[in-house]
Symmetry: C2
Subunit: 200 residues, 2 copies
């Protein structure tokens, strides 16, 4: 195989979930469609880091333009500034936007505390989060880190850091997913579903 | 969502099997890894059509360089020129190379006859294939189009076109795949497995 082909396959295979076969499919597809598609995709990919940067307020994806760099959510005056939802990563923010019910604002941590992997509090922009809450205007902080070991550790740490600021601190519910069959749900999730039961 | 982000997502979603969510994952991954990865991938993708062209002999993927443009298989003098395997597309050629048993050469049609979709013989480079066989040196033509309606129609057409040239024309076997359970195999395949039975 030519070194150039091997290289482009390796580059595609760095994308999440892409192996050698999928990389081959992508390259063959691009080579058998109009050259303008490969050219435009290539240009867009190589410019990604110049066009998008973290939002200076919340770390969400934002298009570079005016200074300070603000994402569409931080720019939107109709979003409720009193509800602040803390997430681990931008894709979690996008997932939470899908139901369309949360009209507050966000803060993207860019990671989680991980005692096992040696990721400590200094790796996360917690001082910026604390400063934002301290400035006022926030009534509730929803901690929407995932219900995993690292996500729970991060949630506990954030509750401690934000505990003295006089805001309500909430945690998203963990339990049986919609349509889930109890028979096939793991015991930790079932335990959480029981612990989190509500009067109906 | 910003128009530029929407555009790059649309471009990724043109790749086979990529939808909006996967496109999002790719973009977020590229934005959260070293900028050099996105830059190099982008450059490689935009240059694809300049770097790779169809082989002037067999239509396989070939790196542009010397003239005439030849793929690695056509350049390889150790490959047997007396066995010519005809495939529909480059990915089929790559699949047939995997077992490593076929040491012959190839001819990529770039498509199949499709009476239902109005694709006639004039859409395929059959005259070039006939000319190549007519020039001599080919002992066997293996028709490796898929065992679908269009693949069979193409195989029958090729057999007729190549029939008078004094070469052996063979067709790859259709039957139950390795590890396949007879209970779950469709009746057409089972019929073919019976028709293609061999004395053991």
């Amino acid at each position: 195989m030519s070194p150039k082909l091997r290289r482009v396959l390796q580059l595609f295979a760095r994308l999440p979930g892409v192996g050698e076969k999928t990389a081959h499919r992508y390259v063959l597809h691009l080579l058998t469609t109009d050259p303008s598609v490969a050219e435009e995709l290539g240009r867009a990919v190589s410019e990604l880091h110049h066009v998008f940067q973290p939002c200076s307020v919340c770390n969400n994806l934002a298009e570079v333009g005016e200074t300070p760099i603000l994402c569409d959510i931080c720019k939107d005056h109709k979003r409720d500034p009193s509800v602040l939802c803390v997430v681990a990563k931008v894709s979690d923010l996008l997932a939470l936007e899908r139901p369309g019910t949360l009209r507050g604002r966000y803060f993207v941590l860019g990671g989680l505390l991980s005692p096992l992997e040696g990721v400590g509090p200094e790796a996360l922009p917690v001082p910026r989060l604390v400063e934002r809450v301290r400035q006022g205007g926030v009534r509730e902080v929803i901690i929407a880190t995932p219900p995993s070991v690292d996500g729970e550790a991060t949630a506990l740490f954030l509750r401690r850091e934000l505990g003295d600021l006089g805001v309500s601190i909430t945690r998203i519910a963990s339990g049986i997913p919609h349509g889930g069959d109890l028979e096939f749900i793991d015991p930790v999730t079932l335990g959480r579903a029981l612990d989190g039961r509500k009067v109906i």
